[in-house]
């Protein structure tokens, strides 16, 4: 397998943790809430999923546990940041650190243990195309993530639920005035974001790298948050961004395989470098940010 084939084959799987977490954070931010705890929520979901699979609970149950667990943790964030109107940045960071701490605590006895991942499903016909066919042999979670991307795009573009979430983020006072409960909508959005972060963590821990190591999320939650801005809060662009980061994170491995003489630390830091560069480029276009940006992002809502 050459480097290109390697990247094509692995890109979507590598992108999935980014994608799931970023989709969740997209909904949260569209509702006007900034939850910076994604990294910790992913870590917490990851350890729960790993424990479930390790003790024979199976992959389905592990995702359920991770989604529920991270959702509960995100509701703690919602309670403090939305219920008590604490500063969202500080609260998000605190919850993130809590999640990482819990992850380390629960995962202590599982360090370096492994579990079995998920089989890859090849799409008939498509997977037989030369080269590009590599894209079409993926595990079930990848396929479901693509479906989720489509569903969220449809939700924001066509459904009333999407409309209500967008309206809440743009002008919470007006949303309240016309009779929507801003706080309830934001709670729901945060819980959804937490669930998705839990799924993302679960995928990383029991499918993508089915081996427990403390700190295994390794900044992917932060990149997911950056992706939401990078995608200017548009579902399609967030998907493309996730694919880009998936590909970049594989490039390091591919380069090592080809025997390129670059320190592995430099290659491993590629996704983060790309994040910084891309954010810089995107932020230079103020029109784009202003048009799609969330007017009330991070501001506590007071009647």
């Amino acid at each position: 397998m050459n480097a290109l084939e390697f990247i094509l084959a692995g890109m979507l799987a590598a992108a999935t943790p980014f994608l799931l977490a970023a989709l969740g954070e997209l909904v949260v931010e569209r509702a006007g809430v900034l939850n910076l705890g994604v990294e910790g929520l992913m870590a917490f979901g990851a350890v729960l999923a790993f424990i479930v699979v390790y003790h024979g609970g199976g992959h389905l149950l592990s995702f359920v546990a991770a989604g529920l667990g991270s959702a509960v943790l995100s509701l703690v964030f919602a309670l403090v940041a939305l219920g008590f109107r604490a500063n969202q940045v500080a609260t998000g960071l605190a919850i993130g650190i809590l999640g990482q701490g819990l992850s380390a605590l629960f995962g202590k006895t599982y360090e370096s243990l492994t579990v079995k991942g998920l089989p890859k499903l090849a799409l008939p016909w498509l997977s037989e195309i030369p080269l590009a066919g590599r894209l079409f042999t993926q595990d079930i979670v990848v396929w479901l993530s693509l479906a989720a991307t489509l569903a969220i795009w449809v939700m924001f573009a066509y459904t009333k639920v999407g409309l209500v979430v967008r309206a809440t983020g743009e002008n919470p006072k007006a949303a309240h005035a016309i009779g929507y409960s801003v706080t309830a909508i934001r709670f729901a959005a945060v819980a959804f974001g937490g669930t998705m972060a839990g799924f993302a963590g679960a995928y990383a821990a029991v499918v993508y790298t089915p081996l427990w190591a403390d700190g295994m999320i390794a900044g992917r939650g932060w990149i997911a948050i950056a992706l939401v801005v990078f995608g200017t809060w548009l579902t399609g662009r967030i998907f493309l961004g996730a694919c880009l980061f998936g590909a970049v994170s594989l490039m390091g491995l591919a380069a090592q395989a080809t025997g390129l003489d670059v320190p592995s630390q430099v290659l491993a830091s590629l996704p983060y470098l790309v994040t910084i560069i891309v954010l810089g480029i995107i932020s230079a276009d103020r029109r784009l940010l202003k048009l799609n940006g969330i007017a009330s992002l991070g501001e506590p809502f007071e009647r």
Binding site: A167, E170, I178, G179
Partner: protein, 508 residues
């Protein structure tokens, strides 16, 4: 008389020490247009919030259609058939008209689009259902708000200062719509402080002053003077006659300025030219959102022109386009921005510290350190001269009422004795007495030779103050119109862009 649709008895509401409403009685008859008249701060908005369920009264009863009414929320009010159009619109700018309406009214997008068109035809509320709201004019946005209310089939429609944002021509159109609605069986509560309008359209008027009802009248039987007396409790002060001057030196000159702001929702300015001379007040009329804030930022120095755009803005004869706000102030420029909290003053800081923000060159600093006693003396003087109602100079700016803070900011800037004074919305939210004091002061300063530029939405104010008026519409400025030779209707034509002069014909 038929039974009233809505009946209020002894309604009171207090916020801490402030009695916003005290013992209000009010009856709205079916199929009538009922005015609630009062100065800013008289308690009109509070009363409407109580009727619309945004807040609950401390005392008193509300009877709706013969039954007692206890509303917990606006949603409940809408279910009962009470709709409200707010002064500051509650629309979502990034959504389209139909999406905005869909948030309130159940139904499929296609059906709603059709119903918006039908309502538009029936009531003179034409608007494109598929247009994004940020692309609409203020008048169109108001129509969207009204349509949104009408779609829930209300029996009472509350309009909070609906004409304050409209040019004269659109006001007539709105009134036509309101009459058609009344004839269609909807009662209307019309909140305003503009006397002529109320006389033009309302069947009944309830007048509020300082939270109490001072009269229930038929506005058609009283002239504006009577209504004003009920409203402010004394006769209106006579405007101070302006002394005409001419030929002072140019203190502000803008020549062919084009500007496209970075913000996509902001208005691009094109071909702006104006001159303000010493001893002259130039007024810029126009409905807000036509480029006023963008122009104001360019004049104040909050927006600095790029280096390529030289020779566009001159102050006291110097090219200042690329200079920042502080440098412009050093030339003798002073500025009262339209938003008091955040730009005119820092709400969390005391009045003394707020004085320092712009008045520090008046010896309030020594070797970079604050001269507390002097700063305090300056602030107290400003409070005294401009009749700012506050317990003292150490009070936080944010604790003052809007009108009092405005008096303080205007006073502070005038005390700098600038050569060029720029005031955006000089009397927004200021009560009638204080507003007329501010206007008299501006005219007096002009007579002493100051150059003054005023941006205002209130045509009456501009006619009272200005020697010359120019109208801003879609980012372009009308020619200079001498106030003496101009009627409000002419200004109105420019405000809606109907007065665009024909392009000069090119001979073949």
């Amino acid at each position: 008389m038929t039974a009233p649709l809505l009946s209020l008895r002894g309604i009171s509401k207090s916020y801490g020490q402030i009695h916003a409403n005290q013992g209000i009685d009010l009856d709205v008859a079916p199929e009538s247009i009922h005015a609630v008249l009062g100065e800013n701060g008289a308690g009109k908005s509070t009363l409407m919030k109580l009727i619309y369920g945004v807040e609950q009264p401390d005392e008193g009863t509300i009877v709706w259609d013969g039954e007692p009414l206890n509303l917990a929320s606006p949603a409940e009010a809408r279910r009962k058939g009470i709709g409200m159009v707010f002064q500051h619109f509650s629309l979502f700018e990034t959504l389209t008209v139909v999406e905005n309406i869909r948030l309130v009214v159940p139904g499929r997008k296609a059906d709603l689009t059709e119903r918006i068109r039908t309502l538009g035809r029936d009531f003179g509320l034409e608007v494109d259902p598929l247009a994004p709201v940020h692309a609409l004019s203020v008048g169109e946005r108001q129509r969207v708000e009204i349509i949104r209310c009408l779609m829930t089939k209300p029996r009472l429609l509350i309009l909070d200062e609906p004409t304050s944002v409209l040019p004269p021509q659109s006001v007539d159109k709105l009134f036509d719509t309101l009459r058609r609605l009344r004839d269609g069986g909807v009662s209307i509560l019309f909140i305003s402080h503009k006397l002529e309008e109320i006389r033009a359209i309302c069947d009944k008027a309830t007048i509020l002053r300082a939270g109490r009802v001072t009269g229930h009248v038929d506005p058609r039987e009283h002239d504006a003077h009577d209504l004003a007396r009920l409203m402010i409790g004394r006769d209106m002060p006579e405007p101070m006659p302006a002394v005409s001057q001419s030929g002072g030196e140019k203190r502000l000159e803008i020549i062919g300025l084009d500007h496209r702001p970075e913000d996509p929702f902001a208005v691009a300015l094109s071909g702006i030219s104006l001159t303000v001379r010493a001893g002259e007040i130039l007024g810029i009329a126009g409905i807000s959102g036509n480029g006023q804030s963008e122009l104001a930022a360019l004049i104040s120095g909050e927006t600095v022109l790029p280096r390529e755009q030289r020779d566009r803005i001159y102050m006291m004869g110097k090219d200042v386009g690329t200079l920042g706000a502080a440098a412009r102030r050093q030339l003798g420029f002073a500025f009262v921005p339209e938003d008091r909290l955040g730009r005119g003053a820092v709400p969390e800081m005391s009045l003394v510290l707020n004085s320092l923000l712009t008045a520090h060159p008046l010896g309030l600093l020594r070797h970079g350190l604050v001269e507390k006693a002097r700063a305090k003396a300056f602030t107290s003087e400003c409070i005294r001269q401009y009749d700012v109602r506050t317990p003292g100079p150490d009070v936080e700016a944010g604790a003052l009422s809007g009108g009092n803070l405005q008096k303080f900011i205007v006073g502070r800037e005038i005390m700098l004795s600038p050569k060029l004074l720029f005031v955006a919305q000089p009397t927004w939210g200021v009560d009638v007495g204080a507003a007329s004091a501010i206007r008299r002061r501006l005219v007096a300063l002009r007579n002493e030779g100051m150059a003054i530029l005023v941006i205002s939405e209130e045509l009456e104010e501009l006619f009272e103050l200005c020697d010359v008026i120019q109208v801003l519409h879609h980012g372009t400025l009308s020619p200079r119109l001498e106030t003496r030779d101009t009627r409000p209707e002419d200004i109105g034509q420019y405000m809606i862009g109907a007065h665009t002069p024909a392009a000069p014909k090119v001979l073949a």
